[in-house]
Amino acid sequence: MTMSCRDAIALVSSYLDGELSEAQAGPLRAHLLDCPDCREEAKHENALKRWFQAAQDPHAEAPPGFAARVARRVFSGDRGLQAPSRASSEAGSLLPFVLALSAAAAVLLFILSIALQGRDRPAGEGLDADERAPWLEEHERAPIPVEIGSERGDR
């Protein structure tokens, strides 16, 4: 065993990262074959690498038209986000919009309810009067107004 355990342990991470030259990797491999303790250490290092391998995200992709938009912005003299981010201002600007929309909807509902109430009232309370044709009402009212009142009362 030409390599010490101390040297071997120091090289294991670089070896697993593919950073060792063959001149360095060869003696390390030989050491690991002979030394169960260092082999165990290498196994632990490899287990961690497998965490990261298992956690790889799917390939990232820029949204369509991203590069053209950025190139257009820089060539039009835009110097980027120096102010607070668009992300937070976007999130912030959505709230007033929703509130305004809700307020507008509430006003509209209020107006509609008044309008509908106004339309419904005669249909409900003045049902008798509306059902009678105006010419008939006028005709009846003149000679015998009392009868109309009693007729209503009968209903």
């Binding site: 950073e19 287990a47 990232a60 590069a67 912005r73 980027g80």
Partner: protein
């Protein structure tokens, strides 16, 4: 640097020169060549798709304004990564979500304070989404310098040299920072999920 990478570097270099000469289309092509990887990198700093897009957009706007300082030293991609990481960290700071700063100087501590914690590899039963959720939660609580080296190495598959170029540190510092980052990651993972931990030799 492999021979296969050279044409890509030449393409980047040509597009940079054309952009500096005033070609909007060349900058658009340069963005198209790198945008997916920058989106991939930045999502390790925030999981909000809107914020990721803002940061990536700001990265490319800053890159454009700094393009004159690129001078073809190293790869455009590494240069861009550095801007993207700084932009992401500035962005989080502005929103009051600054990543944790390392309390101690990790380089001074070197490899002495080794965490005696090890973890099991995730079992096959665990869904990828669950592993990703746990991993990102643990990464998010690590000091920024540790999170960044783990992201560059484990998710972006960057070599030590590329990481050193990107972060402006030596390869020795990359190794030492990675070593400590892994120890911190294992410690935090075991704290949140003791079921995945193996008691160390200690």
């Amino acid at each position: 640097m492999t021979l296969a990478m050279e044409p890509a570097l030449k393409d980047d270099s040509r597009l940079v020169q054309e952009t500096l000469a005033g070609s909007q289309l060349s900058y658009q092509k340069l963005v198209e060549r790198h945008q997916d990887r920058v989106f991939g990198l930045v999502r390790h700093y925030t999981r909000s798709a809107v914020e990721v897009e803002d940061i990536v957009q700001d990265t490319f706007i800053k890159a454009y304004h700094k393009l004159g300082t690129f001078h073809n030293q190293g790869s455009f991609s590494t240069w861009l990564y550095r801007i993207a990481i700084n932009t992401a960290l500035d962005f989080l700071k502005r929103l009051g979500r600054s990543p944790v700063q390392a309390v101690e100087d990790p380089e001074d501590l070197g490899r002495r304070a080794v965490a005696e914690r090890n973890v099991h590899a995730p079992s096959a039963r665990l869904e990828r989404e669950e592993v990703a959720r746990i991993t990102h939660r643990v990464l998010a609580e690590l000091p920024e310098i540790f999170r960044t080296v783990l992201v560059l190495r484990e998710f972006e598959d960057r070599s030590y040299q590329e990481m050193a170029d990107c972060l402006g540190i030596s390869i020795g510092t990359v190794e030492s920072r990675l070593f400590r980052a892994r120890a911190r990651f294992k410690e935090a993972l075991c704290r949140h999920h003791p079921e995945y931990g193996i008691d160390g030799k200690g």
